[in-house]
Assembly symmetry: C2
Homo-oligomer: 221 residues x 2
């Protein structure tokens, strides 16, 4: 079992990892960042060829992603990207509205100035991606903004659940992007930063809830 004898691998972080882990992580990020369209169908052999591995590790990676809701498997085992119904989108939005204010509130006591500076920097990157119309980059930076806050909550299980929700919404996110008002976005993030700096928990909960819910609502209607 060759581990790092493949000279074509240019990327150190993905070296030394088991093949199934590498496939899993790569697919997971692509899905979460909306790089795959909803309802897109994948095949084990296709993925295996793309990653230059056999079907075996791909099957494990895909099964794992399906367990997280990042992929859908038909009764006959066919693999597709989830194509969410409006009801499901609304439900996932409710979950975000339930989990993320709680995470933010738990992070609040531990949020210092350094964190807020980092968040401001991320906000800057978001603006850049929006200006350049880079959808995946925008989604990635936006989620990074949220994750940076929630990491301070010291609640790994809760964060994992939130990421599961992001994952399920991933393919739908791209569609959301075009429908969204850009200035609203920045405004909500600024409200979050203000509440964070002021130590205002109710305000923070509301700001996070609004930011999270806003875009998804117009996707349904």
């Amino acid at each position: 079992m060759l581990t790092s004898s493949n000279p074509t691998a240019p990327n150190p972080p993905e070296a030394g990892l088991a093949a199934h882990e590498r496939v899993y992580r790569t697919l997971r990020l692509r899905i979460m960042y909306g790089e795959l369209d909803p309802g897109m169908s994948l095949t084990l052999r296709g993925i295996a060829a793309a990653f230059d591995v056999s079907m075996t590790p791909v099957r494990e990676a895909v099964r794992r992603l399906a367990a997280e809701g990042a992929l859908t498997m038909s009764s006959s085992g066919r693999i597709t990207t989830p194509d969410l119904s409006p009801e499901r989108i609304e439900e996932l939005a409710s979950l975000r509205a339930l989990l993320e204010p709680e995470l933010a509130a738990r992070a609040l006591p531990r949020a210092h100035m350094a964190l807020i500076d980092r968040l401001r920097a991320i906000n800057g990157r978001i603006a850049e991606h929006v200006a350049k119309h880079e959808v995946a980059g925008y989604i990635r930076a936006n989620l990074e903004f949220h994750r940076t806050i929630y990491l301070r909550a010291q609640a790994p299980a809760m964060l994992a659940l939130a990421e599961t929700v992001w994952l399920q919404l991933g393919p739908t996110m791209r569609a959301l992007y075009s429908a969204r008002n850009r200035t609203d976005l920045q405004r909500h993030h600024r409200m979050i930063l203000a509440a964070l700096a002021a130590g205002d928990e109710p305000g923070l909960r509301l700001a996070v809830r609004t930011d999270v819910t806003q875009g998804l609502k117009m996707l349904v209607g």
Copy 2:
């Protein structure tokens, strides 16, 4: 690939299913119902032998369970049942306290008399299991009580998240059983039923939250 030519299979519901699915479901229930002790180690070959299949479907089932937090995999791939730290237990309890009142509240408008009767019957079974000191049976009936309510919420993604939390707490549940006050349990469930019958949403949220949190709290301290 033989599907149902095995004459030793006595159970129709598990026939016709793919091997990995059968392994997955069986292990999942055993974990959720606290039949496996925390920190217990499993092996692919051992599971494969127990289910009379090869390692291949077992690997998929285990990977899937690990993705849900029902199993833990060490960096070297060793498989163990999760052994939760007190902090983690507290966090999972918080998640239950967050998700389940919401599910109950959503189910409330759809809760009719027939549902309450079914819940009363389940409560009766819980009492029987307690009297007979059947741990797994008690846990199963208790979760069935909750799931029966939440199914009415028409929120599959939210219910799936709640079940994920139950799954992670599964192996720890057995320990919880012995520490728990039996009469308290029945009292909380009766409070839930009363609030359900009265259409009292705040009361229902509180009752569910209390029932869910109570036992887990004393497990930490």
